[in-house]
Symmetry: C2
């Protein structure tokens, strides 16, 4: 039995609570947040505290608070030599106070779409100062998902940049597609299946091999016609730079 | 019963054959291609021709050849006043020869990932000079998919540009994410679930509302750190322009 305490009341804290609440090999024995609010409907009041001094003994303390607050919370813990982990994609492990044994338990997922998440598909990035702690965190993550990775703080910060490309920037391209459609009274939903296919394809094919379109074909006639169709300068600029980027990427490999 | 003849031997021709071959309300009565090859294992030899002069009578002639060849094939048809349609996303309907009744039957999908395609999820874009022809094409498309749209040639060319953004450019961002990962010995598969989620999200949420990340938050500290982490100038350039584009898009809406 692994005993855990969750610190925080945001999305990640709630999802971690929900994920572990029905697992037999884990017990969430206490939760802390500044306002002392419940983060799950099944939670017992006596297990919630708003005072760090009331924290009891546990195997793992999971600090699931905003990035800016992680270091401060770790500074104010009333004990030493316990395993404390944060859940952030971008905060270095060593930014937490060194009086405790430090680690990271980072579920790489956007926790916003709805409350029913298939935890078994979520990749967990694990890091710890001590090897025994790393193995314990791995054991904890494996309860939820088979996808558990040893990722250093440096790798995690790189992963965060890569995630900006494949998530934030990709979503922005969907926005631009949506704009272009609505400017011409075309329902954006026509493109939904293509978008799903684009995302699915790279799970079976390297994205470099999945690249298609006028840019990689160097089909200049189409490229010129597309630039002519685009109305906004910002759209033209994106089109031009992304086309150049595809062509230089592809050119190098020849 | 709708009788059709398929002209061409590429991916789209093959997929259209496969899609209609087991439908009771459609009969593929003949196929044409320059080499006279079979495009489906169940095809009878006597129904294949490599001579346009041998084409028999049908309700719809589907020209599924490369964009550049559409106009030429339409010029060489040995009949007039029949319904001829092409399947291209970017060729105007009127580029075909006007001696026949013209239309477009465009399945908006990438037909490359594998042979088992769920045709019911594919959007079909329909256009025709005559309203009765438009209704017949709609009827034909509805046999395969409930997603049938009236799209003019002008809208179709715009849709093609939007598709470049959400498909070609998006895939390129996946390539960049893959690059960043492999430069740092991180398995790209860690990002697969996030990519699927990103694509799924916009089917339930407008992409503008789904936008997250340091750019929209104007989190300059993170933006600077990310630019510092990126090694290649081309990556930095993309990061900078996409960030600016998100910020100006968001700024306008405030």
């Amino acid at each position: 039995m692994i005993t855990i305490i969750i610190l925080g009341a945001g999305n990640v804290a709630k999802h971690i609570y929900t994920a572990f609440t029905n697992q037999k090999s884990v017990r969430i024995i206490q939760c802390y947040n500044r306002k002392g609010v419940s983060i799950h409907k099944d939670q017992k009041k006596e297990n919630i505290t708003k005072n760090l001094r009331d924290l009891i003994e546990a195997d793992i303390y999971i600090i699931a608070v905003s990035d800016d607050a992680i270091s401060e919370v770790s500074d104010n813990l009333p004990f030493t030599n316990k395993l404390i982990v944060h859940t952030s994609g971008s905060v270095p492990m060593l930014s937490m106070n060194s009086v405790n044994r430090r680690g990271v338990f980072y579920p790489l997922q956007t926790f916003s779409i709805n409350s029913t998440i298939k935890y078994s598909t979520i990749p967990f990035c694990i890091e710890a100062e001590k090897d025994t702690d790393r193995l314990l965190l791995k054991k904890l993550a494996l309860i939820l998902s088979p996808k558990v990775y040893d990722i250093s703080s440096e790798q995690r910060s790189v992963l965060h940049v890569a995630a900006v490309f494949v998530n934030n920037f990709t979503n922005h391209l969907f926005s631009v597609g949506n704009q272009i459609c609505s400017e011409n009274e075309i329902p954006f939903e026509i493109l939904h299946p293509l978008i799903q296919e684009t995302a699915k394809k790279i799970t079976v094919l390297d994205p470099d091999k999945a690249q298609t379109g006028p840019a990689i074909r160097k089909d200049n006639k189409t490229l010129q016609r597309h630039l002519h169709i685009l109305k906004k300068d910002s759209q033209k600029e994106l089109y031009t730079l992304l086309t150049q980027s595809i062509q230089s990427n592809y050119g190098k490999k020849l």
